[in-house]
């Protein structure tokens, strides 16, 4: 593994942790919807770093959380996280980053904004909820349909986050094109 890759993986794991520790964002269109910026970190890692590095960043984050660092939103962390009903989302972040990064790499020749939006929506919503709902159904003893119903409230918030990620990717592509590693790997 190259030094630079190692640092980038650590960087996006740290950004993910930071997003959870920041005071809540005032998202412009979603007053009142319970949103933590954190799941954006998984989409960002994938869109910015590409599939493998993005997924590794999430693996590193979960590893540090398991070691006992309270790095998830609201100061949660430690081994307890892996026994809660939201464990599906937690492991889902790895898949989110991988799928988002993979799509970003596959759409390398497309303009940044639509490519990043597709990557963030497919990765950050479709894949994340597939994992999250499965986890909730398994740990919570619910049917898949009920688990889906319980998750629906959060989808609008994640849609906003996906748009934000695409906007960020586009701005970064303009300001510092080489920072969008998923495109020049």
């Amino acid at each position: 593994m190259k030094d630079r890759t190692l640092v980038q993986v650590a960087l996006y794991a740290a950004i993910f942790a930071m997003l959870g520790l920041l005071p809540r964002f005032d998202l412009p269109f979603a007053a009142g919807v319970p949103i933590t910026a954190q799941s954006m970190g998984a989409m960002l890692a994938g869109v910015m770093l590409g599939a493998w590095r993005g997924a590794l960043a999430m693996v590193l984050l979960l590893f540090v959380v398991a070691l006992g660092a309270p790095l998830l939103a609201g100061g949660r962390g430690g081994l307890g996280v892996f026994f809660t009903p939201s464990v599906g989302f937690v492991f889902g972040w790895i898949a989110v980053a991988f799928v988002a990064g993979w799509i970003m790499q596959a759409l390398r020749r497309a303009p940044v904004f639509p490519a990043a939006l597709i990557a963030a929506v497919l990765g950050g919503i479709v894949v994340m909820y597939a994992f999250g709902i499965a986890g909730l159904a398994l740990v919570g003893g619910l049917s898949v349909l009920d688990a889906t119903k319980a998750c629906l409230v959060f989808i609008p918030g994640d849609a906003i986050k996906a748009v934000l990620v695409a906007l960020i990717a586009q701005t970064v592509a303009r300001g510092m094109p080489e920072a969008l590693l998923s495109r020049n790997a």
């Binding site: 960087l11 794991a13 930071m18 920041l22 309270p70 619910l142 970064v172």
Partner: protein, 203 residues
């Protein structure tokens, strides 16, 4: 940062990290096929007794479960709606007991002891060209980066406030990402100048 680790030593601190992790894994495996209310509530009582034996500071840590209550209520509501409150209670008791038990391990184990305990499990990574020492470096680097990132964010926020009088919020994310990438380039160069990330497992 709020620490999950209990500074005050208890008897569980003295148990080696590897044993605690093994016990946690075995208990969670053994419980997987069980779903009777007496067993689960018995387990919950046993876990609470464990917390009592660890002292007041440990009991105070139960408050960490607070963010989970809404989720528990939703779970129970769904089970009640399906006409099976009993199944809901079993599920809830299982989740509570396992989360508390896992937290007890985290509370009584230092992060470096945990790292040492899992290092043998990381050895197979060597076959893919990732030295376990490099994993330890990545962990340390990530933890060190968090306060740096906060400082960077605060700097951007202050500049934004100086220009507009308002908080930057999500608008800072794009410039933040650009600056962090710059930071990562410098860090990588500094790392390379010091001989690079460990490639073998020699200390």
């Amino acid at each position: 940062m709020i620490s999950l680790y209990l500074a005050q030593r208890t008897w569980l601190h003295a148990v080696p990290a590897g044993w605690k992790l093994l016990a946690l894994a075995l208990i969670s495996l053994a419980l997987a096929p069980l779903d009777s209310l007496p067993v689960m509530s018995g387990l919950l009582v046993a876990v609470l007794a464990l917390y009592v034996s660890l002292g007041k500071a440990a009991l105070a840590q139960i408050a960490l479960l607070r963010p989970l209550w809404p989720l528990f209520l939703i779970l129970l509501a769904f089970h009640w709606w399906n006409g099976d409150v009993l199944a809901g209670l079993v599920v809830l008791a299982r989740i509570l007991a396992m989360v508390l038990l896992a937290n007890a391990v985290t509370m009584t184990t230092r992060m470096d002891a945990m790292m040492d305990a899992v290092e043998p499990l990381l050895r197979p990574l060597g076959w893919f060209g990732v030295a376990p020492r490099a994993v330890a470096l990545a962990v340390a680097m990530m933890i060190r980066l968090i306060p740096l990132l906060f400082a960077l964010w605060e700097g951007l926020n202050e500049s934004w406030r100086a220009r507009t009088g308002k908080r930057g919020g999500w608008r800072l994310l794009a410039p933040f990402c650009i600056q962090t990438v710059r930071l990562s380039h410098h860090t990588a160069e500094a790392l390379a100048a010091r001989g690079g990330a460990p490639r073998h497992n020699r200390r």
